[in-house]
């Protein structure tokens, strides 16, 4: 196997990282209420939509990062271990409460979406 595809992915990931840093910079300097990553996401979407950059220069890097999105969460999720004291007593009861609330959000948002979609007569595909 040649090194070229890996190099391509690496260069594109660096580019995406650059856009992320621009997002962080904008957040700090304009004190926006959104995190830098979301600003970078909106920025990249705008760049693509306005055809200021072609899709192919970020496609391989994006696919690679999205394929391994789970991995990038791990350092933060491991941080839950610092709050073990919280899971004793009343805090423990908040876990099922949060789960039930989350499940309600999941059901209702999807059901309302499907309802409004059917009312506005969108074709399904």
């Amino acid at each position: 196997m040649s090194v070229k595809p890996f190099l391509k992915i690496a260069v594109q990931v660096v580019l995406l990282y650059g856009i992320y840093r621009v997002g962080v910079w904008l957040q700090v300097n304009l004190s926006l209420p959104l995190p830098g990553s979301i600003i970078g996401f909106l920025l990249l979407f705008s760049l693509l939509s306005l055809k200021l950059i072609p899709v192919f220069i970020i496609e391989k890097g994006s696919r690679f990062l999205l394929k391994h999105l789970t991995l990038f969460f791990v350092p933060v999720t491991v941080g839950v271990m610092q709050y073990d004291y919280f899971f004793q007593g009343k805090g423990l009861l908040l876990i099922p409460a949060v789960l039930v609330s989350t499940v309600l959000v999941m059901i209702i948002s999807a059901k309302i979406f499907e309802y409004v979609m059917s009312k506005t007569k969108y074709s399904n595909d």
Partner: protein, 229 residues
């Protein structure tokens, strides 16, 4: 332990455990085998077993954390690919997600109120369905504790993706779009990562749901707290 060795151990270890977890998940596609859960648990067990504090692990693994930023940016790619579909469904998307955010805030508040937890914890719970950095910021401005908010964000994220397959069967959410919205609105970016399993359309609406939830919640949570306290 020198910093280089620490970085090597924490990063290589995390990646190896993640690869193993992915392999396991491919063999047994059982919701409790979700790589986010198995990888996290295995690492926590190892850290506790070796008496390594979280902060030292994070020092070594922070470049992995740093890649979360560009990975969120990369979500613009499926969104762009599916832009025509999103535009076509913009009204049902906006309404569904807005109602979802309201339900999350009100039920979260209601349960916490019933359990009688202190107000700062109750407030920290409200942005649970919002992606971590935004949730921390929302908790901060609303009088909650950002670190506690992260715990709830993780419970909503990991819990949501584990329960999702059962839920979709139980309440009959069959369309890939419905699944994507459900995951993005309830379980933020962890849900969006899961939605990739349901295809590019699901991932695209899921990233829209995640972003809109973050936008709506950053306005609604502080307002809600203002009027309830």
């Amino acid at each position: 332990m020198t910093n280089t060795v620490l970085t090597m151990l924490a990063s290589v270890g995390t990646i190896l455990i993640y690869i193993g977890a992915r392999y396991g998940y491919r063999r047994v596609t059982y919701p409790f085998m979700m790589p986010i859960l198995t990888t996290t648990l295995v690492i926590i067990i190892i850290l506790i077993a070796f008496g390594m504090p979280y902060q030292r692990y994070m020092d070594g693994a922070q470049w992995i954390d740093e890649l979360l930023g560009p990975a969120v940016v990369a979500l613009a790619f499926p969104l762009y690919q599916q832009r025509a579909m999103i535009k076509c469904y913009s009204l049902p998307l906006l309404i569904g997600i807005f109602v979802g955010v309201c339900v999350g805030i009100m039920t979260g508040f209601g349960f916490a109120w019933l359990l009688g937890v202190p107000e700062s914890i109750r407030t920290s719970l409200l942005p649970k369905s919002v992606t971590t950095p935004v949730a921390m910021e929302i908790a901060q401005v609303s009088g909650g504790t950002p670190a506690i908010a992260v715990v709830f964000v993780m419970v909503a994220g990991i819990g949501g993706v584990i329960l999702a397959p059962y839920l979709f069967k139980w309440v009959k959410i069959r369309s890939d779009l419905g699944k994507g919205i459900s995951l993005g609105a309830g379980s933020h970016a962890i849900g969006t990562a899961k939605s990739l399993e349901y295809g590019e359309r699901a991932a695209a609406v899921s990233s829209v749901a995640m972003t809109l939830s973050a936008l709506f919640a950053s306005v609604l949570v502080p307002l809600f707290v203002y009027f309830t306290s």
